[in-house]
């Protein structure tokens, strides 16, 4: 096989893996948008906050340490214990559920039946607040997140492909685990929304608030549930991105990469978020590989957005979004 084709295959595989991570973030957006019609700008920050909290708990960091020290003149930073990864993940999830409750209780409960643009603005506010709280609670330095996921080149794939093609593919173990986790997550979400009472209630709420109330669904409960699930997805995304590139505040910017994914996949489709993520992931890697050298490289920064722009012009509902039918 020609070298060029082998390279392209390797690039495609890596693109698929990167796409899974985009899809994970996009999923969080889709879930909240489907259930409450809110475009949650804070999803990226939620992933950051989840990752910060996870690292903080694992390392036994004292929350608000800087604040406490500044006020009381103390010098405390650590509790001096280390929490095992699994327990820390569970505790972080508890924090995310509490966050979901607070978001519903203090922000969105007061904004029922408001214009979507108002709700969107509220999530922008939430993003800034959450980023600030994350900073005060856990500090702004870059942290290493290691929950015990395998990292580095996958030897087996390297050797197998070397024997088959005479060229070893470089695939990161972390990307493989991200893919597996994402698949499990999606299967669980689909089972939840299709087969459970709460899933059916969730779809009902997304469709019509009044009607949902009239069949005995508590809007408050469903919204807290949705924000908790979004928190859970944010936690998973936070773990994967954090393990890959360290927990740092630029993590919240991955939310921006989710936007083109959503425009491709449609804002209301779970499969759309996944396929959209994969297309963007593969697309930007292949484009960089094939066209990048001709235009001086660095195409990964803009490729996704140009693709999203084309979709907005020619297919605004995305690949899988519900077609907008206007009855006249």
């Amino acid at each position: 096989m020609p070298d060029q084709l082998l390279f392209a295959m390797e690039v495609t595989l890596n693109g698929l893996m990167a796409g899974v991570l985009y899809a994970l973030v996009a999923l969080g957006f889709v879930l909240i948008f489907k259930a409450s019609g809110i475009f949650n700008y804070a999803q990226g920050v939620m992933a950051l906050f989840a990752a910060l909290t996870l690292v903080g708990i694992m390392e036994g960091q004292v929350p608000f340490a800087h604040l406490i020290n500044a006020i009381f003149g103390t010098e405390i930073h650590h509790f001096g214990w280390h929490v095992p990864a699994l327990l820390a993940i569970i505790l972080t999830m508890v924090v995310m559920v509490a966050l979901a409750w607070a978001v519903q209780r203090f922000i969105f409960r007061h904004l029922v039946n408001q214009e979507p643009i108002l709700l969107f603005m509220a999530t922008i506010g939430l993003a800034f607040v959450l980023e600030g709280v994350g900073d005060i609670m856990w500090g702004a330095d870059i942290k290493k997140l290691d929950v015990g996921l395998p990292q580095g080149i996958n030897e087996w794939i390297d050797i197998t492909t070397f024997e088959a093609f005479g060229y070893g593919f470089f695939i990161d173990n972390l990307d493989i685990s991200a893919t597996i986790v994402a698949m499990i997550l999606v299967a669980a979400l689909i089972a939840f929304s299709q087969y459970t009472k709460q899933g059916r209630a969730l779809r009902a709420v997304a469709d019509d608030h009044q009607a949902a109330l009239s069949v005995g669904i508590s809007l408050n409960f469903i919204w807290i549930l949705v924000w908790s699930i979004a928190g859970f997805v944010a936690l998973v995304a936070g773990i994967m991105w954090g393990a890959k590139s360290g927990v740092q505040f630029s993590l919240s910017l991955i939310a921006l990469k989710a936007l083109p994914v959503l425009m491709l996949g449609g804002f209301t489709s779970i499969p759309g978020a996944i396929v959209g993520g994969l297309i963007i992931g593969v697309g930007e890697k292949l484009f960089e590989f094939l066209i990048g050298p001709m235009v001086g490289g660095a195409t990964e920064n803009w490729f996704a957005y140009v693709l999203a722009l084309l979709f907005l012009v020619f297919r605004p509902q995305g690949l899988f979004g519900e077609k907008i039918i206007e009855r006249v």
């Binding site: 669980a188 089972a191 939840f192 087969y195 459970t196 009472k197 709460q198 899933g199 059916r200 209630a201 779809r203 009902a204 997304a206 469709d207 019509d208 009044q210 009607a211 949902a212 109330l213 009239s214 069949v215 005995g216 669904i217 508590s218 809007l219 519900e322 039918i325």
Partner: protein, 272 residues
């Protein structure tokens, strides 16, 4: 013009049971506007009770008070022999009061079958993990709920559109699906907000037939709001007449028809 109390037998020989719901001196205000002023009436088990009145009389407000969407400033709501505390609409629904809406509130993205299934939500007890994994008790429960729903779908003659997304249906059928969803809850009290608004004569006849059949077959107590006097008089056992938020008449259709206040409200009265 006092409301009848206790059990009674209707003109067509049906036996009406005890008081199911009683509204006591309800007053509802929106800021300075008094939507309902000191109204009392009761609904007996098994009867078809209508609330009529001209536009803006406060009929829909009254229905919204019963279903918990509005909370009256004064007065008490009694349901099944107990005073009802202030409740949210979903709690009222869980108590066994189902409703339809004047401007149809269906889940447009879902099929007819799924819409009607949401009516069963208050009857589902198994936990979400069991349901997600589709095992044992959850499966049995799902099958039981499906049976109830299929029976209602057959009853209302909407088998042909079971799988159709509700958004695509014409108006008259949407109204029928909404009725099906409310019925799926097997309510103790069914509230219908203008079930025949905007329908043609044929659709009105169909809907009237369904309302009578529902009452007959399932023994469901029905409270309905209607504009169309003719329809109401044919359908209902007892009628409350409202005008400008006050109750001006209460009794059987014949009594109400001959009530001077009611005639004045509907036909206007000369001031000379």
């Amino acid at each position: 013009m006092n409301a009848m109390t206790g059990n009674y037998t209707t003109a067509d020989g049906r036996q009406i049971g005890d008081t199911l719901m009683e509204m006591k001196n309800i007053t509802l205000r929106f800021g300075g506007v008094v939507a309902i002023k000191d109204i009392s009436f009761d609904i007996h088990e098994g009867e078809i009770r209508a609330i009529i009145g001209p536009n803006g009389a406060g009929k829909s407000s009254m229905l919204n008070v019963i279903s918990g969407f509005y909370h009256p400033q004064e007065g008490e709501v009694w349901f099944r022999g107990a005073k009802r505390p202030t409740m949210k609409p979903y709690q009222v629904a869980q108590q066994g009061i189902a409703r339809t809406f004047q401007n149809i509130a269906l889940f447009n993205g879902m099929s007819v079958l799924d819409n009607v299934m949401t009516g069963r939500l208050t009857h589902m007890k198994t936990g979400m993990f069991a349901q997600a994994l589709w095992k044992g008790k959850a499966e049995k429960e799902e099958v039981e709920n499906r049976e109830v729903v299929e029976k209602i779908i057959d009853f209302l003659e909407i088998q042909a559109i079971r799988k159709t997304p509700v958004g695509r249906l014409p108006y008259g059928l949407k109204k029928r699906v909404e009725l099906a969803r409310a019925l799926a809850a097997e309510p103790k009290l069914l509230l219908l907000d203008e079930p025949m608004a905007g329908m043609n004569v044929e659709e009105k006849e169909d809907m009237s037939r369904f309302i009578l059949d529902v009452n007959d077959e399932f023994g469901t107590t029905i409270a309905l709001i209607e504009h169309d006097m003719g329809v109401v008089m044919d359908l209902s056992d007892r009628v409350v007449v409202m005008d400008y938020g006050r109750k001006i008449g209460d009794g059987t259709p014949d009594e109400v028809r001959n009530n001077q206040d009611v005639i004045d409200a509907y036909l206007g009265v000369s001031h000379d």
